[in-house]
């Protein structure tokens, strides 16, 4: 087990290196200059040069890369050019917000998918199935930011039930924090549940065809038991993989939702990082999300045997 985890982590190193390399050169290919952005339209050329030197931007790119990579290995991701904060600190605080939203949303979406998908598969072809599939298809067709804006309009502005913007860290007031997160979580839950429902339904249909389900019924088990004990665990495995992929994707990819709801999350940090050419922040963020991606996938692979004992991690 431990050997397996070690091996997986070792195998991830080339991937992460390529990510690091791509990020590093990509952000430098973007026209624009962080020093310029910081100093604004009236910046003095001498001050600009001084800032360049201070930020190490006057050195050849490969030297910058080597320096950065060296620091990364010692755990130092550098400091943000625009705010002067250590990138690692920024990442950890931002990742908390994104993490809560993503984990809760994906968790809820998964639960919804399990129930709706299994039931739709069970009553395949019925009105219920049609409704579930119609709903899932509709969800897949709605841009998530549009959905977010609509929810914001309805619950925040018209009904005034929920706060519209802002964020309170969990550490300060968990209850208050939750209130700010309800709408983003609802948006993400809805928009991610579509694909999960479809996946769950299709694998549940596959499982429902199998002999052991008939066998379970032939034993006289009630349908509820058949679904919960015989269909769900086997049908869930493929969905679990998809959940893993979704988690990995969302950790870096809810910039749009974070923008709509003004959450200080990783996605927005990355987008503003790109827009203000804050190289250390962009590099740190992308490396971080890549690491998360690798870890989430590893976690999914480790969880997989729980649902499908035929698969062993060794």
């Amino acid at each position: 087990m431990i050997a397996y985890i070690l091996r997986r982590l070792l195998l991830a190193i080339p991937t992460l290196f390529i990510v690091a390399l791509m990020v590093f050169f990509l952000v430098r290919l973007i026209p624009g200059d962080p020093a310029q952005v910081m100093l604004g339209e009236g910046a003095d050329p001498a001050a600009l040069a001084a800032l360049h030197a201070e930020l190490g931007l006057d050195k050849p790119v490969y030297v910058q890369f080597a320096t950065w990579l060296g620091h990364v290995f010692t755990g130092d991701l550098g400091t943000s050019i625009t705010t002067g904060e250590p990138v690692a600190t920024l990442l950890l605080t931002r990742a908390g917000t994104t993490g809560v939203v993503v984990l809760v949303s994906v968790g809820l979406a998964t639960l919804i998918a399990i129930v709706a998908g299994t039931v739709a598969a069970w009553r395949r072809g019925s009105g219920l199935d049609l409704a579930v599939m119609g709903g899932a298809s509709l969800i897949l067709a709605v841009p998530s930011f549009w959905l977010g804006l609509l929810l914001l309009l309805v619950f925040g502005v018209w009904l005034r039930w929920l706060p519209v913007v802002g964020y309170i860290p969990f550490s300060e007031d968990p209850w208050g924090a939750m209130l700010f997160l309800i709408l983003p979580i609802a948006t993400l839950t809805i928009s991610e549940s579509g694909v999960l429902i479809r996946m769950m339904r299709s694998s549940a249909i596959d499982v429902l065809r199998l002999d052991y389900v008939t066998h379970a019924r032939a034993k006289g088990l009630a349908e509820r038991t058949v679904l919960a004990r015989h269909v769900f665990p086997n049908a869930f495995a493929p969905t679990l993989t998809l959940v893993g992929l979704t988690l990995g994707r969302l950790f870096g990819g809810i910039a749009v939702i974070e923008t709509v709801f003004t959450l200080p999350g990783l996605g927005r940090l990355m987008v503003t990082g790109v827009l203000s050419r804050d190289y250390p922040v962009v590099q740190g963020c992308l490396l971080f999300t890549a690491v998360i991606y690798v870890l989430v996938n590893l976690a999914v692979d480790l969880l997989y045997p729980l649902f499908d004992p035929r698969v062993t991690v060794e």
């Binding site: 973007i30 952005v37 910081m38 339209e41 705010t83 809820l108 919960a228 709509v260 200080p264």
Partner: protein, 528 residues
């Protein structure tokens, strides 16, 4: 089994969420005492005035720190920490008398040594103070000495007379040349936080979330009411919170929802949402800024002055301004802001749309429809809208414009390198026309940002800063304005109107042309 657990979990979470949404009224974390909540569209760059800054930084720090002098509503310079000053006959020595009884936020009394310490820090080698170039050899005058004959007196010696010296000290983007206590800097030489003399002291800075400022009980206001950044300032609430909300729509929603008290610099396209909303009132002031099209007069096609004039004549400036600023802006064909006291009869006429003349000029120049790139971005959103309108209007005169939409960083980079044909651009408020012309006029060889490098203009600009005489300066500015219209190094379009939306309980808020939100002397009725 797992299914049952999963369903149970789902129900539990749904219940918690549902009950939370239905029963609990959102309660923002309000610290004890009255809080005035305002919005910033981006986090501040630092807490070090004038050093690492942008407009938001300046605005926040103006509540915390003060300089010797401050700019007044009408653009003139008035006293702040200095009670009075005298200028030597040769115009090179300024002698300031400090106000008595002023104490820093940490309780230390303000002395001339503090002023010297602050100025020395600004002018030290390696300092990135915004106005260091202006007060160096290449600027308006170099500071050669800062003397402190006694604790209440400061003498600043310049290498040459400089009529704009006080105005420079008062400049907002220079951080008002804030005087801070030396403990603002840690033993390691690193800036910690500002210990100033302003009506609010530094509270907490949550990066990208908010900045809290706390009422300074020991503040000694100048007599009289507030005036510009100076005058009698008072803290009327216990705490100011500047919340960082980058997104304009989100900010409007927050105001409507009651999570904000003051929403400054309302994007024009948000106006419709806010106007007429119950419990919301608006306050506005015209800004002394510049929005227009910068043109590289060396670039293909546009190097022909006839094409630049044709472009200018093809635009309906008034209509464009109305649509782009949603009726808030002021069309202005002159670089001098319409609110400026130098904005006179010479500057007032707008360039009228004249398609026939524009077409004639286009034909005369031999233009054959080569695309002209007009760079723009979404910062602010009006740039983008304006670019589209310019494109559509120029099309009527047979000018083929290709709009290139960039992100702000790229846009700024292209501005700085001069690598463009034409671009939408804006300059924030400049309280003196010399400053506004100064950002346009200069030698392109040494500073690629300058778009207007005609020797005559450079000479006129120089004349405007060496004289302090109002009438003489008006003449110079009139001449510059006339040349500007003839040579078309840029097309001036409009000045914005800074609109601030306030919740009804907010009292005493006043917008002004310098584009910063001032929350001193602003109170809340029925303090929560």
């Amino acid at each position: 089994m797992p299914m049952r657990k999963a369903i149970a979990g789902l129900i539990a979470v749904a219940a918690v969420v549902g009950v939370g949404a239905a029963l609990l009224h959102p309660k923002p974390t309000t610290p004890a005492g009255s809080v005035l909540r305002s919005r910033l569209n981006a986090d501040i760059a630092s807490s070090d005035p004038g050093m690492k800054r942008d407009a938001n930084t300046d605005a926040v720090l103006l509540h915390v720190t003060e300089g010797l002098v401050a700019v007044r509503e009408d653009g003139s310079v008035g006293p702040m920490l200095a009670n009075s000053w005298t200028v030597s006959p040769d115009g090179r020595t300024y002698r300031f008398t400090l106000r008595q009884g002023i104490r820093f936020h940490n309780g230390a009394p303000l002395t001339s040594a503090d002023v010297k310490w602050s100025l020395d820090r600004y002018l030290a080698p390696g300092s990135r103070w915004r106005c260091k170039p202006d007060l160096s050899a290449g600027g308006i005058a170099a500071v050669t000495a800062v003397d402190t004959p006694d604790p209440a007196t400061v003498e600043i010696v310049l290498d040459r007379p400089a009529p704009l010296f006080l105005a420079t000290l008062a400049r907002v983007d220079c951080g008002s040349t804030a005087i801070t206590h030396r403990d603002s800097v840690g033993p390691d030489g690193q800036w910690r936080y500002p210990i100033g003399t302003g009506p609010f002291r530094w509270g907490e800075w949550r990066h990208n979330q908010y900045i809290d400022l706390i009422r300074y009980a020991g503040y000694r206001p100048l007599p009289g009411g507030p005036n510009g950044n100076g005058g009698g300032k008072r803290a009327l609430v216990d705490r100011l919170r500047f919340t960082v909300i980058p997104d304009g729509s989100a900010a409007s929603a927050a105001l409507l929802r009651g999570s904000l008290d003051v929403l400054d610099a309302l994007a024009p396209n948000e106006l419709g949402t806010i106007t007429g909303a119950p419990g919301i009132k608006l306050d506005s002031a015209r800004s002394s800024d510049f929005y227009g099209i910068l043109i590289q007069s060396g670039a293909p096609v546009l190097r022909d002055v006839r094409m630049r004039r044709a472009l200018s004549l093809s635009l309906d400036v008034a209509a464009l301004t109305r649509v782009v600023t949603h009726g808030t802006g002021v069309p202005d064909s002159s670089p001098i802001p319409a609110v400026d006291s130098f904005y006179g009869p010479a500057e007032r006429p707008l360039v009228k749309r004249d398609l026939a003349a524009a077409r004639a000029l286009v034909a005369a120049s031999g233009y054959r429809g080569e695309p002209i790139e007009l760079l723009t971005s979404h910062s602010p959103p009006e740039f983008y809208d304006a670019a589209i309108l310019v494109q559509a209007m120029a099309r009527d005169a047979g000018i083929n414009i290709r709009v290139v939409d960039l992100d702000w960083a790229s846009h700024l980079a292209r501005y700085s390198s001069g690598d463009y044909q034409a671009m939408m651009f804006g300059f924030s408020a400049r309280l003196d026309p010399s400053q506004m012309f100064g950002v346009l006029i200069g030698d392109r060889a040494t500073d690629p940002r300058k778009v207007w490098n005609s020797p005559a203009a450079i000479d006129l600009l120089h004349q405007s800063v060496v004289t302090g005489d109002r009438a003489a300066r008006q003449q110079v500015f009139d001449a510059l304005d006339a040349r500007f219209r003839a040579e078309v190094p840029a097309i001036a379009l409009y000045n914005t109107r800074r609109v601030t939306a306030l919740r009804a309980p907010v009292t005493g808020y006043r917008s002004w042309s310098a584009q910063t939100q001032r929350l001193w002397n602003v109170g809340l009725r029925n303090v929560r």
